[in-house]
Symmetry: C2
Subunit: 210 residues, 2 copies
DNA sequence: GAGAAAATATAGTGGTCGCTACAAAATCGC
DNA sequence: GCGATTTTGTAGCGACCACTATATTTTCTC
C-alpha cells in the first residue's frame, strides 16, 4: 500500500482527515494509531525507531520529516490516546451523576479496559514511559498525569472542596495500581474486585465528616 | 512489596558473603548493594553493564566471572532487596497483631519507605523491571510478586479464608499504586493519606460479611 | 623459588540505538 | 513542457548495548 508510483488519479493513499499539509505516502492517523499500540504494548524505550518505521511502512527520513523525533511520535500517540476512548474519567463523567457515582464508574471502567487485549494492557499515560531513560518521554506522560489528577480534584471539589486533593490522589493511585497490575497479567475479574473495593472506600471517605 | 520466601536457591549458598569465595579485588556484598541501588533508581534496562562495571570498579571479564550476566547480578540484587528491610510485609508481621492491624501497618510502612530518597523510590520488585525488554528480568520480578501475593493470601486466610484471595490482591494492587506514585514523585504525606484510606477500606472489607 | 591456577586488563565482537547526509524520484506551480 | 519544491530510498553516522577472546598479571601450592 506504499505504492508511490505515479498515476495521477486519486486512488493512492494521500492525506486523510482533511488536514492540510504535504502529501505523504502513508496515512498519518493510521501511523499514529499503530505507534500508539506499540508504545502501549511494550513501553516507550522498548520500541525502536527501526521497528516503528517498518511497521508504519516508512523509512527513517520520512519518519523524521513527519514526526520530528521518536518522542514527537510518542507525543502524538499520547494525544490520540488521551483524546479517545481511553480517557476513562471523561467517559465516566459523560454519563452524569454525583461524585461518588462518577468515581465508582471511573474505577470500574478502568477494570474493564486495563486487562490485556491484543498484547496491550494498562494505561499508556500511567505506564507507557515508566523507567524510560528518555527525560522527554517521561515529561510527556507526567504532564498528562498532572492534568488528570487536576481534573479529578476539580471535579471532586464540587462536592467536597476540603479533601478534594487527597481524594483525587486516592483515585489516581488506585488507577496506577490497576494499570500496573494489568500489565503484570491481572484479569478483569481481579481488577473489578479491586475497583469495587476502592469505589466503596472512596464513597465512605467522601461521606465521612472531615 | 516483597516475598518472604522466593527465588530458587543458588548452587553455592554461602558464596555471597565473602566467607568462602575466591578472593576478589572487590567486595561482593558492596557490589550487589550498589547494583541494587542503581537498578532501583532507574530500572533494569536503563542501567548498562558498562556503568555497573565502572561503579563497581571492575572490568567486564571480572563482571561476568562474578555474576554470569547482567540478569545474574539483577537476581542477586533482588534477593538482597527481598531479604532486607525492604521486605515490608515481613516487618509488619514481625510486630504481631491481627490481620487488619498487620495489613494496615504494611500499607503505612510502604508509604514511609516508598517516597524518593537518594534517587531511589518505590519498590524494586514491583517496578524494577517494568517495561523491560528482557524477559529474564521480568520473570525474576514476577516470581517475587507471585510469592508476595501468596504470602499475603496465606496470612489473611488465617482470619478470612473465603475472601483471602481478593483481599490479598487488593493489598497488592494498592502497593503497586503506591510504588508507581512514589516513582512519579509522590511524597510521604500523599502516600500516607492513601495508605490510611486503603487500610480503612481493607478493615471494612474484612469485617463485612461475605 | 617454580609451576599451576585464577583473576585481571586490553581490546574488540556483532548488534542496535536514535538520527542524518545525500541524491534520485515524485509532485508541485506555471 | 520546465524549474523548483518536497519526499523518498540508500547508506551510514557515532554512541551505546551485552558480552567475550586473548594475553598478562597476580596469587596460590609446594
Amino acid at each position: 500500500m506504499v505504492a508511490t508510483k505515479s498515476l495521477p488519479a486519486e486512488s493512492s493513499p494521500t492525506e486523510t482527515s482533511g488536514v492540510r499539509g504535504r502529501r505523504r505516502s502513508f496515512d498519518m492517523d493510521e501511523a499514529v494509531e499503530t505507534a500508539m499500540r506499540l508504545f502501549h504494548a511494550r513501553g516507550y524505550d522498548a520500541v525502536g525507531v527501526a521497528e516503528l518505521g517498518a511497521e508504519l511502512g516508512i523509512k527513517p527520513p520520512s519518519f523524521y520529516a513527519a514526526f520530528g523525533s521518536k518522542a514527537g511520535l510518542f507525543e502524538r500517540a499520547l494525544r490520540r490516546y488521551a483524546g479517545g476512548e481511553a480517557n476513562i474519567f471523561a467517559r465516566a463523567q459523560a454519563d452524569g451523576g454525583g461524585v461518588a457515582e462518577v468515581i465508582g464508574r471511573t474505577l470500574r471502567l478502568a477494570a474493564r479496559l486495563y486487562p490485556e487485549r491484543n498484547g496491550v494492557a494498562g494505561c499508556l499515560v500511567l505506564d507507557g514511559a515508566r523507567n524510560s531513560a528518555d527525560p522527554e518521554a517521561r515529561a510527556l506522560t507526567a504532564a498528562l498525569r498532572t492534568a488528570s489528577v487536576s481534573a479529578l480534584r476539580d471535579f471532586i471539589a464540587g462536592e467536597e472542596p476540603e479533601r478534594a486533593g487527597a481524594l483525587a490522589e486516592f483515585v489516581m493511585i488506585a488507577m496506577m495500581g490497576m494499570s500496573a497490575a494489568a500489565r503484570d497479567g491481572a484479569d478483569e475479574t481481579a481488577l473489578t474486585a479491586f475497583a469495587e473495593m476502592a469505589g466503596r472506600a472512596f464513597r465512605r471517605e467522601l461521606a465521612a465528616e472531615g
